[in-house]
Symmetry: C2
Subunit: 316 residues, 2 copies
């Protein structure tokens, strides 16, 4: 049996709703095995079907709890929900894996929910490089809302904005200084700003501070989508239906304007660039000889000179 046939059989099982096959396909795609190319090609035509919702924000803002609430909200609408959680947990630091988190636990046995924790391997800027393939698999399996929960630190190169259609940035009233610091980088990527833990008080000031900061950062011209600020309590469920409506409104905005297609194009570009550079990296590794390294050790050469030789045009 050829690899292609094997992958197609697996892809067929994924499309038919087999969860174990989906879990296996995701593993192959995330780890980028020899079978993953065929899977990626099989699933890619389903890309762009689902709304990919990025949940971003500093640690401790209750993103996981909010994620659990959003799952319930979408399930109430009969939608299948996929969750990809970028988990900085490593053997070095310990910590909770997605499946152990209290608020999503209740959804584990729900056939309409699929959750997967992505490790930090191959991460650039907070998101796993191979998350795109995982998303295509979930789309092919009929998941129409895909929540990507990220770690809130140092996301730059492959930021959540290059993966998600809709970025919800989560903060809390307790993080007053955060909101100040946010101005620098997050204002531009957030489509929706969520003040969570509204039940703990201080939400009105937090919401108005955020709105002021957003107004300051905004140019004079009206934008087709002005990022709303909404207070919610993931703990009590307060505000979650409203957040659901805003998420839906943003999805409709993306579809009706050219913005949805523009974002998808940017996502494809990033997916493709990263795919190509991973291939090129392996090829480059193969080209480095022990002679190159010995010459560097003896200071007869340097990284720039060796790289120039290896990267010479015509050396494919």
């Amino acid at each position: 049996m050829r690899a292609g046939n094997k992958s197609s059989a697996l892809a067929g099982e994924v499309r038919a709703g087999n969860r174990r096959s989906l879990a296996r396909a995701l593993s192959l795609l995330i780890d980028e095995t020899s079978e993953s190319d065929a899977l990626l090609q099989d699933f890619f035509p389903e890309s762009g079907r689902a709304q990919k919702i990025g949940l971003s924000g500093p640690p401790g803002t209750g993103k996981s709890t909010l994620c659990g609430r959003l799952i319930s909200h979408f399930r109430g609408q009969g939608l299948k929900v996929g969750v990809l959680a970028v988990d900085p947990t490593s053997p070095l630091t310990g910590g909770a894996f997605l499946g152990d988190r209290l608020r999503v636990q209740e959804h584990v046995s729900d056939e309409g929910v699929f959750m997967r924790s992505l490790g930090t391997r191959g991460m650039v800027g907070g998101v796993s490089q191979t998350i795109y393939g995982a998303i295509h698999a979930l789309e092919a399996a009929g998941f129409s809302k895909i929540i990507v929960e990220t770690v809130g630190t140092g996301q730059d190169e492959v930021s959540i904005a290059k993966v998600a259609d809709t970025v919800a940035y989560v903060t809390t009233p307790q993080l007053g200084d955060e909101i100040q610091a946010m101005k620098a980088g997050v204002m531009e990527i957030g489509d929706i700003f969520v003040v969570n833990k509204a039940d703990l008080g201080g939400k009105d000031k937090a919401v108005s501070d955020l709105r002021s900061a957003l107004a300051l950062g905004r140019g004079r011209e009206a934008k087709p989508w002005e990022p709303p600020v909404i207070a919610v309590s993931a703990a009590t469920g307060e505000g979650v239906p409203e957040l659901g409506k805003i998420l839906e409104a943003h999805w409709e905005y993306l579809q009706s304007s050219g913005e949805g297609r523009a974002r998808l194009l940017a996502q494809h570009k990033e997916e493709l660039s990263l795919y190509i550079s991973r291939r090129l990296y392996r090829r480059a590794l193969d080209r480095i000889t022990s002679e190159d390294l010995e010459r560097m050790l003896d200071h007869r050469s340097d990284p720039v000179s060796v790289a120039r030789r290896i990267l010479k045009p015509g050396r494919g």
Copy 2:
């Protein structure tokens, strides 16, 4: 004036001990500007001169305070000390920058100490990709001990072990579970294990637990370097001179055995591979056409097919 001349002038100032020039060279190298190649070539022949000491471990174990103590220790020996702190601080999360940290503050005006905080841009696995160039610049400027302080989360690909000659892994008696979790990944990379906060009690159990864990992980044959476990208190300074002696002993071991050269070779390989892959990523970006992306959007193509065309041999 050609770029090459300009860089050489700057490099000359760095070698002459001009701190402002050093700061500027480091910025150019870390941000990888158009001038950085010439600088890298200029400084590379100094590579391998300094002992690069990696300070790793979970957050909250007092790595910065310990770093301050080690600076004082080395300064007492008349050695110039460079510190590169990988700082996960971003506009998203706020937090303390290196210069603000209490324990290193006292060294700010010392000409024999140079500290630099590296942002998280371009990080893979917890360490900035361009840290190698920064290290070469510090070596060229005569810094003979370079402390690389890392964030303790999810370091895999470019781990501290691929940057440092000597890895000191820092933990505390309070992190009992950490020590258990450590078994998975850190045992192999640590050359020295430091139980910090020894003044808070519980150090003897922590040290013996760690020694047991290390003994379990170890094979039957004696290794040329058995990682020692040492209790210190960065707060009081207790144990710091002993730690200094162990760091020196490891440096001597690296020099006298083949291990130092082997590690330097691995570091060069990583530096070169990452340098090449950054170039290749940009090249890949240049080769992607809007037609490619449009075809992907319309599902007439997919990342694998486009990449194969772009990567075709002979297309350098």
